[in-house]
Structures are given as C-alpha cells and as structure tokens.
C-alpha cells in the first residue's frame, strides 16, 4: 500500500480511498438509475438496453392518460394514481405516528428507570426481523381466524375481519410498519436525547420549568437537528415501504394500501411480460417527487435555524 502512495502521490491518496466505494456506488446505484431513465423512454420487455426500442415519452403519456385528473378511476393507469395518492396519505401519517411514538419511547427510555437496557432491546427487536417475516407474522395474527380475533373473542368483543375493510387495513399497515421500524428511530432519538447536557435540565429545574415546559422549550428545540435527520430518513424509508404491505395485503383491499413501490414492482417485475419502461417512468416520477420534497425540506430547515 505504501507503494500505491509512492505511485500516485499523497495528494491523490483520498481518491485511492474513495475509489472502491465510489465504483460500487456508480456501478450498483447510479448506473441502474441511468439505465432506468433509458428504460422509461424505451419499449419492450427486453432487459438489455441495446435490445430495446426508443419510444420517447409514450410511457409517461400512458401514466398521464386521464380524462379527469381529479378522479383516478378515469385514468388508464388508475392504479398509478391511486398508489400515488395512497403514498401521499400513507407517508405523512406513518411518519408522524412513527416519529411521535419513537419520540415518546425515547423519552421514556431516557429516564432513569429500571430495566432500561431490557426495554431498549424490546423496542429494537422488531427492527431485526425481516419484512417478510413481520408481514407473515401479522397477517397470521390479523386474519379472520387469527390470534387477535381469538383474543377479542375471549374478552367478549366481536371479532373483526381486520384486513377486509380499507380503513382497518390501512390502519394496520401504518401500525405494522411503525411497529417494525420505530426501534431504529427510537435509538437515534435516544442518542440525541442523551447528547443534551444534563445541566441544561437542571438549570431549567432551577428556573421553575414544569416537565411539560422543559419538554417543549428545551428538549424539542435541542432535539431538532436529530429530529430532522430522523424525519428525512423516516420519509425516505416510508416512501420505500414495500415488502411488508406486499405480503400483508398485496395492496388491498382493492388498492387501498397499494403504495408506489409496489405498483412499480408489479408493473416492472411481477407481471408478465414485464413492463420495465412503465415501471421506470413511474419510479422516476416518484424520485422526482422525493427530490422536490427533500429540497423543500432542506430549504425549510435551513431557514428555520439561523445559526
């Protein structure tokens, strides 16, 4: 390795360190995106770009083929719009609930209580389960003859066929994704909480601050940078939600829980023949939406902190 340094000179050593990772990024992350862009403007179910024919914006036109943009039923690709709509409802709700719950949990775990390590483990445990396992497990619990209905029957409640109704299915979609991922954010928030100096709280105590006021006036503002990271990560992850819901509901009932990524997967992968072009077009639109969101988010957060 010293040989390398002598060869390229110390000035170029950072590139030597960067190249392996950068190569992998270019090859397995950025190149696929560019291939996707090409897919979106070409037709046929052929995998290799050189086998495909250019068709221009036809795929985009198909996606936007609607008679009334306010009513997805009138769109040729109504599922694209429904999935988009669902994503736009799912993401804010799921992220809000997730961050809310994770924050409360982190606050509890940050207290000086017995069994902190144990509880921390409990809340983190689901993060370790694979999405497929999580979904199968909950499907098995929530199905008509599942454990939850058994439990409800046992305590005298009428069993509910949870996954049959759009609203309850949506509720459980949010619940399960929160259940599975909140541990991750809890730990990050916990780390953020622990980074807040203790003496600031003591000062607040001397300053007669009630617990609520120390939370809103001290904890929240000081946690803001971490919350921002958590927020962005949670949004990205939430938009990417796929495996759990695919196994749990397949996007149903109807298309009530079908999110964008599932739509893309079904169009581009699970169908026969595979419509890579349409899937790529949809994914690029999704990417565009994410990009705009991130940009706005950055702008807001930069505007919010003036130091």
């Amino acid at each position: 390795m010293y040989g390398v340094q002598r060869l390229v000179g110390i000035k170029r050593m950072p590139w030597v360190f960067l190249i392996p990772n950068l190569t992998a990024v270019l090859l397995f992350a950025l190149l696929p995106v560019f291939i996707n862009i090409f897919y979106s403007v070409s037709g046929s179910d052929r995998l290799f770009p050189w086998d495909r024919t250019l068709i221009g914006g036809a795929n985009y036109a198909t996606l936007f083929d609607c008679t009334n943009y306010l009513d997805p039923s009138t769109c040729s690709r109504d599922l694209f719009w429904r999935a988009l709509g669902n994503t736009m409802v799912f993401v804010p709700i799921q992220v809000t609930v997730m961050i809310g719950v994770a924050l409360i949990t982190a606050l509890c775990l940050n207290r000086d209580i017995r069994g902190r390590g144990f509880f921390r483990g409990i809340f983190f445990f689901p993060v370790m389960l694979s999405p497929v396992v999580v979904a199968l497990m909950w499907q098995w619990i929530l199905q008509r003859n599942g454990a939850l209905n058994g439990l409800m029957g046992a305590v005298g409640l009428t069993p509910v066929n949870w996954l049959v109704f759009p609203n309850t299915a949506f509720f459980w979609s949010v619940f399960i994704t929160v259940w599975a991922h909140m541990g991750f954010y809890t730990i990050i928030l916990l780390a953020g909480l622990q980074a807040i100096p203790r003496d600031v709280y003591e000062a607040a105590r001397m300053d007669s601050a009630s617990p609520w006021r120390s939370f809103t006036k001290i904890t929240l503002p000081l946690l803001k940078p971490v919350l921002l990271v958590v927020f962005i990560l949670a949004v990205i992850r939430s938009v990417q939600t796929f495996d759990e819901l695919y196994v749990l509901t397949g996007g149903g009932p109807g298309s009530a829980t079908m999110l964008m990524v599932q739509y893309i997967y079904e169009v581009g992968f699970a169908s026969q023949p595979r419509n890579f072009g349409l899937a790529a077009a949809a994914s690029l639109l999704l990417g565009l939406a994410l990009l705009i969101f991130t940009a706005i988010q950055m702008r807001i957060s930069r505007g919010g902190t003036d130091d």
Binding site: I10, N36, F125, M128, A154, G192, P211, V226, F242, S283
Partner: protein, 361 residues
C-alpha cells in the same frame, strides 16, 4: 425581594405533582413511563413471543380457532388392532358421566369410538358430547421436519446467509470507512461531489432499480453466485455517512502526529483511523448485518440455485402458490431471528453509544 419564596406557597399543589427524582417515592411521570413501557412491551414483544410459542404447535393446533395460548396436541392411545394411534376424547354420556374413549372415525355429526380397554365394541357418539383430551405438547417435529423438508440443506442456507452477511459486512465496513476517511480527513477537489453522489443513493428504493441491478450483476457473470448479492449492497450510503460523521470527531492532530511518525496514509487509515472508529463501525456493522441477513428481493433474483439459497429465500419457499406451511414457516422464522437476537444482545450497548458518538446531532 424574594418572590420565589412567594411562588412556593402558591404552587404547592403543582410542586407536589411535579415533584421528581431524589424524593423517595415514584412520581406520576415515573408511573406513566412504566405504564407506557409495559404497554410497549406487550405490543412489541407478544407477537414475537406468539410466533415462538406457535412454532411449537402442531399444524392442526395452528389452524385452530380460537387459537390456544399454549401448544397443545391431542392425546392419543395405541389400541390393539389399529396401526395408528387413536385420539382420545372425554365423552359425556347420556347419564352425565364422563368416559374416556378413543375415536376411530368421524362421520358427520357422529363419531365412531371405542373404549381402549374394550376395543371390540364400537360406539357411535354425537360430536358435541365429545371433548378432545389434550395436553401441552411441544411439536419439536416442526423443527426436525424443517431440517428434513429442506433435505438437510438448511445448514447450507445457514452457511450462505452467514457467508453473505459476514463477507458483505466486512467489505462494507472497509469500503465505507475508506470512503469516509477520504471524505472526512482530506480536503480535495471533488470531495463534495463524491459525498453528494454517495448520499443521493439513499433515496433510491432497491426495489425500483432491481431490474437494472440484476442486469449489471448478470453482465458481471455473477448470477447464482453469492458475490452477486454481496457486491451490489456494499456501498451503503448510510454507512459512509455515519462513519464520516464519526471520523470528523477524530482530531486531525492524531493524523498529523502519525504523519510525523513516518506513517503512510494507508497505515494511518489502518492503524489509527479504523481502530478509533470502532463504535461507529459497530453501528454500521449492526445495520449491515441486519439488512444483509434479511435481504430478500435481490437474492431472489440473483441466487438461482438451491445451493446458493439464503435462509430468507428458504423461508419464502414455504409460502408458495400452493399455500403457506405455517408450521415450517414459524419454525424457520424463529430460527432465522435467533442469530440476530444474539448479535443484538452482544452489540446492543454499542448501538446507542455508537449512534450517539456518530454525531447525528
């Protein structure tokens, strides 16, 4: 002059409610915390516990509704003249007595039963009068069936999963930390570009680029090869980000000191930076282990041969067009989650301290 003293009397009730640690009693916020955490414990853990308990249920016990809390199996008895063991039932006779009989066959609302003590006489009993005799029974055969149904391949899957997880994690750690080192400790043109390029990939859902990724893997001739799963996943943007944030906190003076000590840049990285980044490396390792171990879609398309299957793929093969084998699935789930549970137990204390020190603040 001392209005704080006056506040005291006015807010004594408030003071009582907000009374906090240092007093000998638990205050209400402590109670609230415990209630919340216990509720959390139930919600977070019972499903998992339920899976583990259920993995010991027989298929019949599994499909039962309402489900039983513990795994039960019908008690059976071997009766002379019958090859298979017969299930036992407690039958309430017309006189109100209860006798224990073995069921031969059930036809409609009636069942044919015999008294094990007196196998000659066949009785016809209405089904609603018969209550199966059951005992707690741990169906270890779910696990043994699992092993046999996978044709002894399970160790192969375990090996594959371990190989992918370990190798990918090691490569991830080395590659990410090299990149993070370059991006945190050198000032050079293009460093911002490189950082943005790496972080931008955070936003790309793996599912969406599955097809092109597969194509690239195929072009590299890695289909069916464990490396075809390992290589596309090693350049994780979060890993680079976390490590970089952490390395920013390592004083530059250490590097300068090492340079004055004749250390080459590689040696600085290998002997100084890497050991010092241990907490952040632990965090990245945990995340890498989790995601590699649980990876599903990419292995599904890339790992085509049974010998190259991972545990997750094997798990999925219990859910086919022909139905879900819950008994095997649950056993397998328990088995695949176990190593992670252990990994977590050993590494958990690094997670918070590690994240805390990676400077996400």
């Amino acid at each position: 002059m001392t209005d704080l003293g006056m506040v005291k009397s006015g807010s004594s009730i408030g003071a009582f409610i907000t009374r906090r640690r240092g007093r000998k009693r638990l205050d209400w916020t402590d109670w609230l915390t415990y209630v919340y955490l216990l509720a959390g414990l139930v919600i977070m853990f019972t499903p998992v516990l339920w899976v583990v308990v259920s993995s010991f249920k027989t298929p019949a016990n599994l499909t039962e509704f309402p489900p039983t809390l513990l795994p039960y199996a019908a008690e059976t008895v071997i009766v002379e003249g019958y090859d298979d063991p017969l299930p036992l039932f407690d039958v309430t006779t017309d006189e109100g007595e209860t006798v224990r009989l073995a069921q031969l066959r059930r036809v409609g609302i009636n069942a044919q039963m015999i008294d094990p003590a007196n196998p000659e006489e066949r009785l016809t009993i209405p089904v609603e009068n018969a209550e199966p005799v059951r005992q707690i029974y741990l169906a270890g055969e779910n696990y043994t069936n699992l092993l046999s149904s996978t044709g002894g391949m399970i160790w192969r899957y375990v090996f594959n999963s371990l190989f992918i997880t370990v190798v990918a994690t090691i490569i991830t750690l080395i590659m990410n930390s090299m990149a993070a080192f370059a991006l945190s400790k050198y000032r050079f043109r293009g460093s911002n570009m490189a950082l943005v390029a790496i972080l931008a990939t955070l936003m790309i859902p793996a599912t969406v680029v599955l097809v092109p990724t597969y194509m690239i893997v195929a072009q590299l001739g890695l289909v069916g090869n464990l490396w075809g799963v390992i290589l596309p996943t090693v350049a994780t943007p979060t890993g680079v980000f976390l490590l970089r944030q952490y390395m920013l906190t390592i004083p530059d003076e250490l590097i300068e000191a090492a340079r004055m000590d004749h250390a080459s840049e590689w040696r600085i990285f290998w002997r100084i930076i890497l050991p010092l980044s241990a907490p952040a490396l632990a965090v990245v390792a945990i995340f890498s282990i989790l995601s590699r171990w649980n990876d599903f879609l990419l292995p599904l398309v890339v790992l085509t041969r049974r010998e190259s299957y991972t545990l997750q793929l094997a798990l999925a093969s219990f859910q086919t067009e022909y139905g879900i084998r819950y008994d095997l699935l649950l056993a397998m789930t328990t088995l695949t989650a176990l190593p992670l549970a252990f990994a977590f137990i050993f590494l958990q204390r690094y997670i918070t301290s590690g994240i805390a020190s990676t400077g996400i603040k």
